[in-house]
Amino acid sequence: MAVISYREALNQALREEFDRDERIFIMGEEVGNFGGAFKVTDGLLAAYGAKRVRDTPISELAITGAGVGAAMGGLRPIVELMTINFALLAMDQIVNHAAKMRYMFGGNVRVPLVIRAPQGAGHQLGAQHSQSLEAYFLHCPGLRVAVPATPADAKGLLKSALRQDDPLIFLEHESLYGVKGDVPEGEYLVPLGKSNLLREGKDVTLISYSKCVYDCLQAAEVLENEGIDSELIDLRTLNPLDLGPVVESIKKTGKAVLVYEGWKTGGAGAEVAARIYEAVFDHLDAPIQRVATADAPIAYNARLEHAALPSPAEVVRAVERLV
């Protein structure tokens, strides 16, 4: 076990999987010479050469579609989109092609494509560079969606992603690349579709993923000082979605708060809330609360941006409304 950053954990996963499977390669804007816009692919070009670490022009639609085609051709491509905002240029290939092909061709094709992209706000990058779009992908059958929060999960989920056969959107959070944590060395897999109980408590269930997990951890400490005992579950993947531990937790606490960085309306948390109501309505003592991004584009101004995003203080307030 070594303490490394989320970025280094991803880089390690890529190297290990590159070594394991010759069919895996990565392509995207600036993944080679530049080492990745967020340095996730740093050193890979030198280690594996241009065949497996392929710089591309700014053509998100064609790059993504080429990833789909290469997957149909028997490879295991990783397409890195510089940020998830640019995935919107490739939505035709993601939604109309990658996600549909296995089904519409009667199960006669596999598309083992992993699309990696950073997302999220917090750096004053303005409306077009600050989105969290996991709900768009969650909405579409045929796509797997991973949203790792910790360095260990970043490694373990990416390795698992590269060993399964469905198109998978792997969403990294821009604010997490520098976060450090214990990461097992060598072979370490985190299965897709297994949420993670990060903190045990009896009063309220916090349900989150990606960067908001850290907001929840901070909030839980504040709440503990107030005598409120929070349980925290990190979903890790939105598809497959593992709500087993969430349901068990709510049977115990009777209260749930969903914390996520997508827009509040139609966000992943809305889906999770609906499923909780369907599964354990009778166990709920109070309405489910959602702490999410305000329904507005993200502003450049730091105070406006901060106000739009979920925060530990907002999580605390949401819990206080319940207890």
Partner: protein, 334 residues
């Protein structure tokens, strides 16, 4: 490439082909034509529903190009793909069954007319988003280069795809990476009801190739030999590792955009002119005129093809529907 040159290629192609080869072209074009005519009939009888885009009139393009490929080469197509699929060797039975929405169809009844697929025969799918197949062809080309294999990809699309970003991004990428892809634009003059000159800033579509540093050629898409000759050159170039090409095959769809389109935007005189240039009748006439085919043998072929189509319809009729219990099967690999 000037038109004289492609005519020359066609003449040369004719000289190099034996009678069996010519009969094969004839039979395959006829198969596609009769298949489509029967599809139209089945559509009007309500056996086939949904969107259905017929290939009648354009047979020379699919046959000329796909007969320039080896079995292991890939084909990517559009929603007007019955002809490409049959030319790649997929059984008329399973194609017809797919159109009927049956479990025995190539896509198990989940795809329909616009989404035929056969991985074994490397028919890599019909796609119903205009231009959507081009990036996939680039990716297949990339997989070939990656695995250091000798295959090529033949990617069909219509004139309607040229104004799409996917066309331009894909040709740039294929040329930049020297991928073994042959792009074949079936220019039938209309993107649905909009004429090419109202949709694209230049009428000579093959000239877009210049912008992407690849050879571009316009061929008579009603002449299977001319298409075949140009395709042989482009396929050889791709297989040699010299990169992609763009072929513009000028052709005409005999029917409207889809079964629901009576094509009232087209002058009837224009339709008559193209019907006179019918690719199947032309080849037949040429084979007989040049003593490269025997009339009795051709008549036999015609009967054989009709029997194959009858059999395909019977197979489709008798096949079971996909079970409702499998509604969500194949959304994911399990």
């Amino acid at each position: 490439m000037a038109l004289e040159r492609t005519r020359h290629v066609a003449e040369r192609t004719l000289l190099t082909m034996d009678e069996a080869g010519l009969s094969d072209f004839y039979r395959l074009m006829l198969l596609i034509r009769q298949f489509e005519e029967r599809v139209a009939e089945m559509y009007s009888r309500g056996k086939i529903t949904g969107f259905c885009h017929l290939y009648a009139g354009e047979e020379a393009v699919a046959v000329g190009a796909i007969r320039a490929l080896y079995d292991k080469d890939y084909v990517i197509s559009t929603y007007r793909e019955h002809g490409h699929c049959l030319a790649k060797g997929v059984s008329p039975r399973t194609v017809m069954a797919e159109l009927f929405g049956k479990a025995t169809g190539v896509s198990g009844g989940r795809g329909g007319s616009m989404h035929l697929f056969d991985a074994g025969l490397r028919f890599m799918g019909g796609y119903a988003i205009v231009g959507g197949g081009l990036p996939l062809a680039v990716g297949l080309g990339l997989s070939i280069v990656y695995k250091e294999e000798p295959e090529v990809v033949c990617c069909f699309f219509g004139d309607g795809a040229l104004p799409q970003g996917a066309f331009h991004e894909s040709l740039n990428l294929a040329s930049l990476w020297k991928l073994p892809v042959v792009f074949i634009c079936e220019n039938n003059f209309y993107g649905m009801g909009t004429m090419v000159q109202h949709a694209i800033c230049r009428e000579e579509l093959y000239k877009f190739a210049e912008s992407y540093k690849m050879p571009g050629v316009r061929v008579d898409g009603m002449d299977v030999l001319e298409v075949h000759g140009a395709a042989l050159e482009a396929v050889a170039r791709a297989r040699e590792g010299d990169g992609p090409s763009l072929i513009e095959a000028v052709t005409y769809r005999y029917r409207g955009h889809s079964m629901s389109d009576p094509a009232e935007y087209r002058p009837r005189r224009e339709e008559r002119i193209w019907l006179e240039r019918d690719p199947i009748k032309s080849l037949r006439r040429r084979m007989l005129n040049e003593k490269r085919g025997d009339e009795n043998r051709l008549l036999e072929l015609e009967k054989e093809v009709a029997a194959v189509i009858d059999d395909a319809v019977a197979f489709a009729e008798q096949s079971p529907e996909p079970p409702l219990s499998e509604l969500t099967k194949h959304v994911y690999v399990d």
